[in-house]
Amino acid sequence: MLDLQTVEILEKKAREIRISTIHEIAHLGKGHIGGAMSIVEILTYLYYHEMNIDPENPKMEGRDRFVCSKGHAGPSVYATLASRGYFPQEWLLTLNKGGTNLPSHCDMTKTPGIDFTTGSLGQGASAAAGIALGQKLKGEKSFTYLIVGDGESQEGQVWEMAEFASTRKLGNLIAFTDFNRMQLDGYTKDVINMDNIDTRWLGFNWHVQRINGHSFEQIDYAVQQAKAACDRPSMIICDTVKSQGYFPGVGVTANHSMAVSQEDEKAAIAALEGGSL
């Protein structure tokens, strides 16, 4: 269980990562801010508390791996990696510019610390299952962490992966659903209803938990429970707020990818620095 001091440290890091993410996207003027902001606590927890990694040696043998299958959340993944020291913070200002190492969607061939390339929704899920399988084949005690979006979970490939991973008893695969209830065209309930997400994963014989995805205590408890359930893969469904921490985007249906003005950037960062989260 996380002590209060650790929670405070993680919350501070999450705030810094959110500020970097807003700054990164605002510098470009537009980007996938909604789904990037909703997963910041999960990223912070994994990279600052849980995963066995070495930013000095991004390809360290036997490390834990992370796949952000909702590849458009790249900006907050990059902010986390930069914060952790995988590459200089200045790189963040090159997001999506020609020749950058930080493309819109996660790319393992360009960015130190990215374990798998994603961008076509659903594909990262299968790759993560392959990675977890490979870890077991190599006799590693390592884990593979995966984030899928709730909208992304409309892709059939996610469920092909679900049946495969449970059949193969991939207990080292720990997945999170970023359940922010929104997708590009609006609310999931209006496009494809995902409200039965828990029973879907239960039906595929996964270990399923549901938590507040912005609570470090709950993320920690769920991850430790998931690690203990070593006979099957785990899905931690995280109730989140799309655009959490960038208030001009909260509740805006167009927040999947939106313009971020310098005024909004300043206001949002000031709110975060003022302790809005």
Partner: protein, 314 residues
């Protein structure tokens, strides 16, 4: 070097190559999509159960899992019928494997019309075109057992991903063990100065061999090339054929658009525009029938090839 002359089916040559590689390299793994008994990868499962994964009827996931395994240092061979290996999991093979610079060898069986009684739903005519769009991917369509075995071994050594277009049932023994077979280099089966015939795959090369005999009886001498590697194209040989014969007929068990014929034509248009014609499926979809029926239905017989060759000389 293994002698494949005792094998009874092309699928045996495929599996002999993969199993020999698995014996030599512990990172070789195999994935199936519920077609284990069709390719005969059952032998791999029995010998290396820990390195064999039947992913069920879910080809997209199979290719994604293979990509993940590749990122962990494994070298996966993944198998399905060509229609599924090309059309059904194209985005996964394109992005998770090739765009992500992973290394997976994807087998697509029953090329062109050879699915026979499985019919049009199981006939990949467009797989070559789809796979040719993928940068750095190697595409092979071997015409006999020995070349199939040798080329799969060379694919492993190449370090590239590949698409292996190959039949399963029946076999052709064309090249004795020891024949020089080189990935990316077409094999000249006969030489003649009247025209050149470029054929790909077992079905077309077999018919083209007979067509060359028919033409010879009519006083026409054709060079025949087994173009077992479709990508990268053996442009050096193509240019030589154009230079020496000035007439090229490309025979492929598939569609023209994006296929081998278009690849040859596209190259020659740049360096040496040459009179050409093509044998392919045209604008048709597949249909059910045995091979003899299908060869006639699609104008793939030796007689059809010979007739097109003669017309090209006029």
């Amino acid at each position: 070097m293994r002698d494949t002359s005792d094998l009874a089916n092309m699928k045996d040559a495929v599996m002999a190559a993969i199993l020999d590689l698995a014996d030599e390299h512990e990172e070789v793994v195999m994935l199936e999509a519920d077609l284990m008994t069709c390719l005969g990868s059952t032998g791999f499962m029995k010998k290396y159960p820990g390195r064999f994964f039947n992913c069920g009827i879910a080809e997209a996931n199979m290719v994604g899992v293979a990509a993940g395994l590749s990122s962990m240092g494994f070298v996966p061979f993944a198998d399905s019928f060509g229609v599924f290996s090309s059309r059904r999991d194209y985005d996964q093979f394109f992005l998770s494997v090739n765009y992500a610079k992973q290394r997976v060898h994807l087998i697509g069986t029953d090329p062109g019309v050879v699915a026979q009684v499985n019919g049009g739903t199981h006939m990949p005519f467009e797989d070559i075109a789809l796979m040719r769009q993928i940068p750095d991917l190697i595409i092979i369509d071997p015409s006999d057992a020995q070349s199939c075995y040798e080329l799969i071994r060379q694919l492993y050594e190449s370090g590239h991903s590949s698409y292996i277009r190959v039949g399963r049932r029946g076999i052709t023994h064309r090249y004795p063990v020891g024949t020089r077979i080189e990935l990316g280099k077409g094999i000249v089966l006969s030489e003649g100065s009247d025209l050149a015939i470029i054929a790909e795959g077992e079905t077309m090369v077999n018919e083209a061999v007979k067509a060359v005999e028919i033409l010879r009886d009519r006083g026409i001498h054709a060079t025949l090339v087994d173009m077992h590697t479709i990508k990268p194209l053996d442009t050096e040989l193509v240019e030589k054929l154009a230079r020496e014969t000035g007439r090229i007929l490309v025979c492929e068990n598939g569609r023209y658009a994006g296929g081998l014929g278009e690849a040859v034509a596209g190259h020659l248009a740049k360096v040496n525009p040459t009179r050409m014609d093509y044998v392919n499926v045209g604008e048709r979809f597949g249909e059910v029938g045995n091979l003899a029926y299908l060869l006639k239905a699609y104008n793939f017989t030796a007689e059809d090839i010979a007739a097109k060759a003669q017309a090209l000389l006029k």
